[in-house]
Symmetry: C2
């Protein structure tokens, strides 16, 4: 049936030796992060108390197009990389579309997602700096698992603040994290000042990524030998995740393909940022013109309904301010929404690219239509996808159906970053038709926007 | 660090075109299965009411060394095969052993195990025969998931009787099976005569594989257009699973290796039977002499403490009688034991090979030592293993440590057939030290042995 294989693998010697830093090719840099106390652009010295020094340097690096991947990181990548690029023959057949659908499958490791790409890098730099441990937040639990694994590899202590509603929905996710020897704490917790405050102000709070970030940052900055690490949003994470796009591009080249459309879900940005990286580079340098689509949940519509403004990255307002699309640092998304993508902000890089029109399009999709796509995909392609990744599947299917109408043979590439083995409570809700689609009203959004800081002079 | 890659892949064009039928090379055939009514050797006509015709033919085939894999089956194999052969560099390093450890990783598909190799073949033959649906039993749930997926691919109805204690321990396993559109029924159920009887005789029974088999067979034989399929024990399943060993051998050849020791866990036999197949062929034909080790749970010690006798394959005593190692068809293993491998009998092929000394060794291992190995493996190799497969890991580690003592550079191959994402309740019990090691007493075993049928003339 197929000339091009179902699974296109690169060899381990083809794992990229360098990450690609899209900022080096951006026409307009995103506005600098601001120190929350001085409102001046953050310098390395501002970031060093929070982040490992090498990661802080990556965060600020606008100029180096390629950054070497340390050999020890590549050695750990070889345990699970290169990941396969899959040709979705059975999905194409089920849709009866002339489109060619490819997906990069990043879920074939025990963390269940692409997050391991960045956690290994971050744990490596923390260890190299002689640190004792790291702290982080996790929403759906994928990042927490990935970080626990990486810390185990490098012998680091690991404290994970997990958004309380996910902690309760996913009892088994925490067992994996325990098995890898990390501490896992439901957030808001009583282990930090900000956690105690939020528990007092909002009794019974089910938490949010923003709050969990505040707690993890507070712990790291008040304990000797600890730093904070995180799994999305920041430039350093997009840098590490560029390996997804680099491998996808190399694999597509092997079969003589180049994508017309590149699709990724967008919560904090690591997913889309990872798959799009070298293709965005081609667009920025005029070599090609793929169409990029960011897919976000209608329940947390940061790009499609948010404001492009300076805002805190966390709910507790202790982090630097970033210029990004945001629903307001005080926006609390519906606990009903399954999985991650519940973040009020968006990667400053993606935000700038969207603002400037290089990231062509953002679409907000509703939860039940996402699970409809997920179920169809699972049935025909044999991989049970994570709810987050299923946002990309939804739009990939929609685009393939448009091709069916128009008769166009477009090449569609999407990022299947995770598996749904720990999301079966959500699948259960979908199967039993108890899942609902929550879309915030304009009034809901206004409440969130009211929490965007109004600080003299910074928002112009 | 490594010349041989971590993951040795074959191309999709290297997926074997034929399964290997080890019976064609066996010096002594296992004794024939007996019709439970007449006690005469079963003929094709006896099997056809229960099994698909083509599968019944495979069941009885002693002579064809190779059997063609239908092209449509190979096409579905390409979705997830060839599976990688992994070099366990990090495990070797952690053990500080001169041994070279390889494992065939069969868990990288949504069914989470090797079971998909046989379920696709069985569903294909059922569809080709024009059947409406199939029934089966499942213990840990891997086989049920794999069959649900395969039935979905081919458009067949699927009814899965799941051992009740697993059904209750693994709420999410049934959601996956539901997502693939199969019915799943806790066994003993009230949907069959035998289920009702067992519920009446043993109120609160947590079930066993033997009972679930009886129920599935009863449903299939009393409903038009249905047949019974199963995931282990039978010759046809070992035939389909030979693809594991065939791929492993081809991948090892690519890197110039041949195993000194081949290890698989043994519940019904599909695991060890799969990995060993072509290597056993080499042994039977004098081409090589690898050492084979079957690993079973101390709680269900079929090979190490069972009898080599004719017994029913199920608890309800409706199936044919097979000459095999058995604890007695009435043996009910401890519900405490995590996962599968809780079967009273053993593949007649493996039983005969063990009896004749070609399967060199069987070892019974205790549950906590299995989870100790599983946890270590997860931490260093980055794959959370299924409890069943972890029995093989336990012995692979023990053998590698012997090599450390003796200084021997042996090549160890084991079969990592599944992931443990649905076994986290067991990991939790291990982490919280509430797991215990149940070993049946001699008196317990005697009770089981008393259920081996004493039928005039058949046991000599």
């Amino acid at each position: 049936m197929a000339k091009i294989p179902y699974k296109i693998y690169l060899g381990e010697d083809e794992i990229p030796k360098q990450w690609y830093n899209v900022r080096a090719d951006m026409k307009t840099q995103h506005r600098p992060m601001l120190n929350p106390a001085t409102h001046k652009p953050v310098q390395l010295a501002d970031l060093e108390p929070v982040f490992c020094t090498e990661l802080a340097k990556q965060e600020l690096n606008e100029t180096d197009r390629y950054i070497d991947i340390p050999e020890e990181v590549r050695e750990h990548y070889r345990m699970f990389r290169p990941s396969p690029l899959m040709r979705a023959y059975y999905l194409e057949k089920a849709l009866d579309t002339p489109a060619k659908i490819y997906y990069k499958f990043e879920g074939g490791n025990t963390s269940g997602s692409h997050k391991l790409n960045s956690s290994i890098a971050q744990a490596y730099y923390a260890k190299a700096q002689g640190l004792k441990g790291v702290t982080t937040e996790t929403g759906a639990g994928q990042w927490g698992t990935a970080l626990a694994m990486a810390c185990q590899y490098f012998g680091l202590d690991c404290k994970v603040y997990m958004v309380k509603c996910s902690y309760e929905q996913k009892p088994y996710r925490k067992e994996v994290i325990h098995t890898y020897g990390a501490d896992i704490i439901p957030s808001p917790s009583m282990t930090t000042k900000i956690g105690c405050e939020i528990n007092e102000r909002f009794p019974g709070s089910t938490g949010s990524l923003g709050t969990a970030i505040s707690e993890a940052v507070e712990y790291a900055t008040t304990h000797e030998g600890y730093r904070y690490v995180l799994g999305s949003v920041l430039n350093q994470v997009l840098l590490h995740q560029s390996i997804i796009g680099l491998e996808a591009k190399a694999a597509l080249e092997k079969v003589g393909e180049y994508p017309d459309i590149v699709i990724g879900c967008a919560g904090g940005g690591s997913n889309l940022g990872g798959i799009m990286s070298p293709f965005m580079g081609d667009k920025l340098t005029g070599k090609a013109n793929p169409h990029f689509i960011a897919v976000e949940p209608a329940s947390c519509p940061t790009l499609t309904r948010g404001k492009f403004a300076y805002d805190f990255c966390d709910t507790g307002m202790v982090t630097p301010l970033a210029k990004m699309y945001t629903l307001g640092c005080g926006f609390i998304p519906s606990a009903n929404h399954a999985g991650g993508l519940r973040y009020h902000g968006m990667s400053p890089i993606l935000s700038q690219l969207y603002h400037d029109g290089y990231l062509d399009e953002a679409r907000a999709v509703e939860q039940t239509s996402v699970f409809e796509a997920a179920e169809m995909f699972a049935k025909v392609e044999g991989i049970l996808p994570a709810p987050e990744s299923s946002h990309a599947i939804r739009v990939a299917i929609d685009e393939a159906l448009k091709c069916k109408e128009s008769g166009e043979e477009k090449t569609i590439l999407f990022n299947l970053t995770g598996t749904g083995y720990f999301d079966l409570a959500a699948y259960k809700a979908y199967n039993e038709k108890t899942m609902n689609d929550y879309i915030p009203t304009d009034a809901d959004l206004e409440k969130g926007f009211a929490t965007i800081p109004h600080i003299e002079g910074i928002q112009e």
